[in-house]
Amino acid sequence: MTTTTLLGALLPVVPLVAGLVGLLLPPAPPDGGEGRARRAAIALGVAGAAGALVLAVALLVTLDGPVESSGTWVDLGGLAVTIGVRLDGAAALVAVAVAAVALAVQVYSIGYLKRGPHDDVDVDHRYPPYAAQISLFTAAMLLVVVAGDLILLLVGWEVMGICSYLLIAHDRRLPEAPAAAMKAFLVTRVGDVGFLLGIALLGVSAGSFRIADVLAHDHATGTLTAACLLLLAGVAGKSAQFPLHTWLPDAMAGPTPISALIHAATMVAAGVYAVTRLYPLFERAPAALAVLGVMAVVTLLLGALAATAQDDLKRVLAWSTVSQIGYMTGALAVGAPAAALFHLLTHAAFKALLFLAAGAVIHAVGTTLMSRMGGLRRGMPVTFWCTVVGLGALAGLPPLAGFFSKESILYAAEDALHGGGPAPVWVGWLVWLAGLAGVAITAWYATRLLLRTFLGPARSPLVQPHDPPAVMRWPVLLLAVPAALLGLAGFAGGFTDLLRPVAPATPDRPSDLLPPAPLVHLGPEVLLPLALLTLGAGLAWARWRRDPAGDPAATLGPLRPVFARAFRLDDVQHALVVRPTGAVARGVRTADEVVVDGAVTGSGRAAVGLGGGLAALHRAALPRAAAGVLAGALLIGLAAALIGAAA
């Protein structure tokens, strides 16, 4: 094991240990005093995330090409399950992003989950389990990032699901939180049925679950397509892609730092990352890429349109995540995993920034509804400017990060129009057109969010908005740096090389000698998205100029309630899945109790009844009993005579 692989192996272990130790701390203070356990939890949480960040940066620095190290974990009847790491540039970069966001969230939470002066006396934030679960969450995501085996990846994948469940349900004052948490885990778990089956198909086909073996094996076309499609179900669940996206907006019931964690670097990023990890397989399964493309386009537009009509600040951001992940999966569908990863990284920066800034707003105003905000710019200038940077990056305003990464995706889609990608040409058209439309819509809702929250008249005049305390301010400020500047890295050759998925060199395939195409292209085609961006932002602004107190979403007219409820897909899911399953469950329970168990108890009762009947027959009065005995004797005698005669 070299230093590099050791660093990679330690990456998930450090936060894991911090999390497991943290779970042993007393969850609730005995008599109101939060003191010591809370301080220990803070130290553990921050140390775990900081340690992971140091390791990830060290890994990024020391890594000079893909490396792999693995040993047998368990051998189940000839199917090898290995335990080991598989490291490349993309893994190191994503690990840095994960650890950085996790550290920001751990630090920010210290201030966010603190008993404030307005809180009830009995508010107890249960900080120790909270911090420990964030550490576990981080560890699980880092495990997904470095895992060199599909089963190991699945471990991180599902542990992440359960951590998101626990953290979304953390706020005990919100009645909707438990339901939202359950929905998040169940919807992703439904997708994971496909993920597990896909892994099973690949593992059985290759005879091993090691990613390198799975990629090197020559799978039958049918198996490969089926496996890729099944994997996509899991990806759709984790990365909130249509039709399994419904959990993400509801997950806003979790504390805001958790939203930042889920939306930026972990969980939703895992699906996209897993596809890039197995991209050579998807390249050989164009049907799966086509399905992914359709999924991406629907998700992209659905999320963007739903974001236009939300009144809840966090829900706007949640739907924007859905839409932005659509961009990433769209990039994957047109054969540009590097562009997808680029957008994943910039998105991690600006979405974490936006959520943490939104948390500062919610902390100051005490509500998440934009209809009760407005005019916050004067009271909270730092938060305002950070949000401007974040929203600019989200909308793709040059030279902020999102501009470059979105540009690289649109460029890849345009390239696919000419048959440049592994997917069919029509997928390229779909992604390109939807991507362009998405630019305009994104600009519109980003502008609306900014105007409704920070500008115009204050709609809650009683509150005194203020910038957050330092422990919450600094994470926001520091995240603004990559949100603004990370896009420029797209010009750096070294960065681009890191993102390209390179198969580890094997004797028969030394390495990819093609010159790396640049990730960012600044040509005349940039003007089209820029024009659309101006159009979207301008429409929202013009509407707001006319009526600064009104909501620009009023322009949507009759579509507004439809968008606000995201095309009522929640109701569809409820009607098609939740309610039928419940009805079937009740039916099966009744059938099991009445029919299956009824047959058992019935046979018991029948036996008792039969016995009783026979007993009653034997309790006959003398004349009938005598007649019975005589009749029996007669029968026996007759039988004896007949048999004797026959013999």
């Binding site: 969850p27 609730a28 009847g77 249960r126 597990l196 009740r586 329970r589 058992v600 018991g604």
Partner: protein
């Protein structure tokens, strides 16, 4: 007498003598201490069975498929050619240790709390007798001896349920005894069919078919599989289980779910599949289909269930469905998945029943409608319940994952339309499992505390922690290092699968 032979005898003799000693000790608490010590010594002896030479020097056509690490073979009733033949190998050893561990934890638990209904002394003595029967079943290498041990378990378990159980205990105990007796009758007939046709009751000699005709094998497998299906239980022969598990006292439920059900799956692997491989191949599709039906039915019933212990009881039906699906594939992957699924289910469901018992003892109700907000008043208990539920729903990284995921993998590996469909349905069953456990957690731990939960004290007793900690650690350890179980089982399973071909 070698160390191995001594240990084999000790594993059975210590709890048997312990039961006598417990019954003979006049003071109740002292008797419980004596019983706990006996159970601890048994666990030690069981763990030590892994010592010594257990190298597996490769399968050769002449070597028998069952090659115990240690064995003892003595004449028992020479006139009837009955032999006292015991042995332990990688398939039985994890179950032997699990049985000894759970019995020890249950005996230790009764030191702290004796359920209402009778003396603690009698309960501990009965638990030790049950342990003798279960351990004997796992160790027996003679069919008749196997049957005898299989039957020893029945009456003491009946007494535990009927004596210390819940409100409806007599009916549940009667149903348990009568239903499993039916299975025993089938087992007896099956044993007779095999012994009469083969002329020997030696499992080592019988494994692989031993020249039994196809007709005999089909008949024997049908009888044996039905008998073990009642015990496991396999849908639709499961309906004794919910009543028995729900009404039994906490320690009874733990033993029932933790190890008693494993007698069925162990018997299926060792006796039914081993002795009548041709019958197993013939019946495998039916077995697989019923196993998947058990997974789905169990999960759906749990989804509509409204009593805590009953829900956990029904969850066993689904989990054992995964185990039986693994066995039904008749592949090395599937049988290994079944073995680790067996152990994981014993650990996790044992823990779940301990926790459910703790909740019921405190809140005096098990109705999901009356339980809510446990995490507000008893955060540690709620956290442990959450852990056990998450482990039981098969979270990767915890023990339950390997058995369930690899039963699905084995079905996919078996290939063909039927097995692929079964694998897909089983995977869907996995999602349903998550659904009902999350529903359980949402009802019990989340929300505002109900009146029944509101008066709970937050702390846990030391005895509870001591009883639960080994199970929590094992669920984690087996999840992270499945070789703990599978390392010893790999070679014997491969040898068994070899004779199945």
């Amino acid at each position: 007498m070698s160390l191995g032979e001594f240990l084999l005898v000790a594993v059975l003799a210590v709890p048997a003598l312990g039961a006598v000693a417990v019954a003979a000790t006049p003071r109740d608490r002292a008797a419980r201490v004596v019983g706990t010590v006996a159970a601890a010594v048994t666990l030690l002896a069981a763990a030590l069975l892994a010592l010594g030479d257990r190298t597996w020097s490769g399968y050769t056509p002449s070597a028998p498929a069952v090659r115990p690490w240690h064995r003892i073979d003595l004449p028992w009733v020479p006139g009837l050619e009955l032999r006292f033949h015991l042995g332990v190998d990688g398939i039985s050893w994890p179950l032997v240790v699990l049985t000894a561990l759970l019995t020890l934890l249950c005996c230790g638990y009764t030191l702290w709390r004796v359920p209402e209904g009778g003396s603690g002394r009698a309960l501990v003595a009965l638990l030790l007798v049950v342990e003798v029967g279960i351990l004997g079943t796992f160790l027996a290498l003679d069919l008749v001896l196997f049957f005898v041990f299989f039957e020893i378990v029945l009456l003491p378990m009946y007494a535990v349920i009927a004596g210390w159980g819940g409100a409806d205990r007599r009916r549940a105990a009667r149903k348990f005894a009568l239903y499993t007796l039916l299975g025993s009758v089938l087992l007896l007939v099956g044993v007779y069919v095999v012994v009469a046709a083969a002329g020997t009751a030696d499992i080592v000699a019988l494994t692989g078919g031993a020249g039994l005709s196809r007709g005999t094998q089909l008949a024997a497998f049908t009888l044996l599989a039905l008998a073990f299906a009642v015990k496991s239980p396999l849908w639709p022969l499961h309906s004794w289980l919910p009543d028995a598990h729900t009404q039994a006292p906490t320690v009874g439920s733990v033993i029932l779910a933790g190890v008693l059900l494993k007698m069925g799956t162990y018997g299926l692997i060792r006796v039914a599949v081993g002795v009548a491989p041709e019958g197993a191949r013939w019946a495998a599709p039916v077995l697989g289909a019923l196993a998947v039906a058990a997974i789905l039915v169990g999960a759906l019933v749990c989804l509509a269930q409204d009593e805590l212990k009953r829900l956990i009881a029904y969850s066993s039906v689904g989990h054992m469905g995964f185990v039986l699906l693994g066995v039904a594939t008749l592949t090395s992957t599937g049988i290994q998945a079944a073995l680790i699924g067996n152990v994981a289910h014993g650990v996790i469901t044992g823990l779940l029943f301990f926790l459910a018992g703790a909740v019921k003892d405190r809140a005096h109700t098990g109705s999901l409608a009356e339980l809510s907000g446990l995490r507000e008043t008893a955060p540690r208990l709620a956290g442990l319940l959450g852990f056990a539920a998450v482990a039981s729903l098969g979270l990767p990284g915890l023990a339950g994952f390997w058995g369930e995921a690899f039963a699905v993998v084995a079905a996919v590996q078996a290939g063909g339309a039927l097995w692929t469909t079964l694998g897909v349905l089983a995977a869907v069953g996995g999602a349903l499992t998550a659904a009902y456990f999350l529903r359980l957690l949402r009802r019990v731990t989340h929300g505002r505390p109900s009146p029944a939960v509101g008066r709970l004290a937050p702390g846990l007793a030391r005895a509870e922690l001591v009883a639960w900690a080994p199970l929590v650690l094992l669920a984690l350890a087996v999840g992270l290092a499945p070789t703990l179980v599978l390392g010893v089982a790999e070679a014997p399973v491969d040898a068994l699968v070899e004779v199945l071909r």
